[in-house]
């Protein structure tokens, strides 16, 4: 049994950094989900599909521009925008008629979108694995405290707090953010004072899905892009949101941090069951704080 046999300081440090870059991806995806769940009260299972679509579009745009620096940046910018446009069409075309339905119906409806998107992705991109090559600037390693560390992962670790701050700014300091938070608490009242709640909801939905696309675009260079990555991420994102507290951005960050670190450290402790550790942590957290670690919006 290779239980806890390969824990060294160096390995621990490296895995912690890997876990932090994983945290960024998880946070970006989960915060979008949390935003939609908190304001619109939609348990959006289709969030994972949009993440997958983001990754595939990232691949295609990068490929179209011939890779390299230009291709990478174009792809990282364009693919979340494309995902946001798709989500806008879905929201205006379908969701806006369903807000009054109960949660279970909304959950099933988003699941139906997941099924449709899953097959559409298969039709467009086929069922092969895809890989995105990093531009030269992101290849190679930095040396931190004498340990080599991939540059791209460091880039991800920097992106995480930037997105967190941006979201905090958006929800707390801008007009649309304030209206959205008010609508989360009492949508009828917000409508009664003359604000078009439907449009606010559309905006929040699109921003949330933009984040799913961004997460997919950023994760693309670090792993194989494939069918089924939607099913894997959505459960993780849901667990993070529940653990952190529904609708709470900082809760999503905390949840992603716990999830990402237990996952990467768990690989050192017991490789075979690394996948189990984050789930155990979530269950323990929910045993003691059934409504999440931080305050939820509802």
């Amino acid at each position: 049994m290779d239980f806890a046999s390969n824990i060294t300081i160096s390995a621990l440090f490296q895995q912690a950094l890997v876990g932090l870059s994983r945290t960024t991806i998880l946070f970006i995806v989960a915060s979008g989900l949390s935003l939609i769940l908190g304001v619109l009260r939609i348990p959006n299972v289709a969030h994972g599909s949009l993440y997958m679509i983001g990754a595939f579009i990232m691949y295609s745009v990068n490929h179209f521009f011939g890779g390299g620096q230009a291709g990478f940046w174009m792809a990282v910018l364009l693919s979340p925008v494309a995902v946001a446009l798709i989500s806008l069409a879905v929201e205006r075309g379908l969701f806006q008629y369903l807000y009054e339905r109960e949660h279970l119906m909304l959950l099933l409806f988003t699941f139906s979108i997941t099924l449709v998107f899953g097959d559409l992705v298969k039709m467009v991109w086929g069922s092969d694995y895809r890989c995105v090559d990093l531009p030269a600037a992101f290849q190679g390693f930095f040396t931190i405290l004498g340990f080599p560390f991939p540059r791209y992962n460091l880039f991800l670790i920097i992106i995480g707090p930037v997105v967190a701050f941006g979201l905090w700014f958006l929800t707390n300091k801008t007009r649309i953010g304030k209206i959205a938070r008010a609508a989360a608490v009492d949508r009828e009242m917000v409508g009664a004072i003359g604000i078009n709640v439907s449009l606010v909801f559309a905006a929040v939905f699109v921003i949330g899905c933009f984040l799913a696309g961004l997460g997919g675009a950023l994760v693309a260079p670090t792993q194989n892009i494939r069918q089924g990555m939607d099913h894997a991420i959505i459960i993780e994102a849901f667990l993070i949101v529940i653990m952190g507290g529904l609708g709470n951005i900082w809760g999503a960050l905390l949840g992603a941090l716990i999830f990402g670190l237990t996952d990467s450290i768990g690989i050192l402790v017991w490789p075979q069951f690394a996948i189990v550790f984050p789930y155990v942590v979530v269950v323990i957290a929910l045993l003691f704080c059934p409504k999440g670690l931080l305050k939820s919006t509802w």
Binding site: P43, L107, F109, F111, S112, V116, H231, F273, Y279
Partner: protein
């Protein structure tokens, strides 16, 4: 529903006769159906039993049982592991399947039942995913992501017809028992808890205990359905307890109609048949399922059977009863 008690003996037989006819027809099915269709009917019965068992908590109890497939998978794995890993008689595996599923139901229920609605469902998904993750990685015991294949069930039920009769008889027994449970005092209080938990609590129903009991009963029946799956397919794999299957079962309940006892069975039949037929023409089966579900939610939220019952009542000139 009050009417049932004043039904005369004769009309009780009248109500029972069509079901007896269906049962006899299903008993004779292997005589005139080709082998593949017999297998398919068995699969429909298995999936249907699973959907009906979910509906016990979802439709009758109004609980957000989001990860029902876990108990199905546990039942299937129990039988598979007893047969492949122990020297015990396979029949003990079939007896153990509902017991183990019920125990897992109890454990998960004890943790979840404190919460309600969406929180309940989400916590259940996380606990279910934990079970799935363990099964998915424990290669030495559960076979990991490959699962266990070529499970040799006892000779009498190993043929296609044998497996079919096994699932038919087991389904019939389970349905009768579940029907009894629905109409028992427990079933009534479960329904009362769904419709108004606060008032139920006030008249002396222990809401949490009723919900927990409902989960355990439903989990046990899901375990039986799982053991039937092993007999029909001869293999188990972790997908049996993946969350997408759970949502698919919920779709079956929705498709057939929540508030009817046998609606989910109809929903399961539609889904299994649709998958088989669509599978002949195209590999894109899930897009069809997705579109069906989408249309269903938009236009037919009371389900197929619910819709027909409603229009039947309307057509009969009777006042439309409030469908709950």
């Amino acid at each position: 529903m009050v009417k049932e008690s004043i039904l005369s003996e004769r009309s009780a037989w009248k109500a029972l006769a069509p079901w007896l006819a269906v049962f006899v027809l299903l008993l004779l099915a292997p005589r005139f159906l080709p082998r593949f269709q017999v297998y398919l009917t068995g699969l429909i019965l298995t999936t249907g039993l699973l959907a009906v068992s979910l509906n016990l908590v979802l439709g009758l109890g109004g609980m957000y049982q989001f990860h029902h497939a876990v108990f199905y998978g546990i039942g299937a794995y129990t039988v598979a592991l007893v047969i492949t890993k122990t020297a015990l008689s396979p029949w003990i595996g079939f007896l153990l399947a509902p017991v183990v599923s019920a125990l897992f139901s109890l454990a998960i229920g004890l943790i979840c039942v404190r919460l309600s609605k969406l929180y309940f469902g989400m916590l259940q998904i996380s606990l279910g995913s934990l079970v799935w993750a363990v099964v998915f990685r424990w290669y030495s015991f559960t076979g990991g992501d490959d699962g266990i294949h070529g499970i040799s069930v006892p000779g009498i039920i190993s043929s296609t017809d044998g497996a079919y009769y096994f699932s038919l008889i087991l389904t019939a027994i389970c349905l009768i028992v579940m029907q009894r449970i629905v109409n028992s005092p427990f079933g009534r209080s479960f329904q009362a808890v769904r419709d108004n938990p606060v008032r139920s609590e006030a008249v002396g129903i222990n809401v949490k205990r009723v919900q927990l009991t409902g989960m355990v009963i439903s989990g046990a029946f899901a375990g039986i359905a799982g053991s039937m799956f092993v007999v029909i397919e001869g293999s188990v794999f972790p997908e049996l307890m993946f969350w997408t299957l759970s949502l698919e079962i919920i779709i079956m309940c929705l498709l057939g109609g929540w508030f009817t006892f046998l609606g989910p069975m109809l929903g399961a039949a539609i889904i299994v048949l649709l998958r088989t037929v669509v599978g002949i023409y195209t590999e894109y089966w899930t897009i069809v399922l997705g579109l069906v579900l989408m249309l269903l939610i938009l236009f037919l939220p009371q389900g197929v059977l619910g819709y027909f019952l409603e229009s039947y009542k309307r057509g009969g000139g009777k006042a439309v009863q409030e469908e709950r």
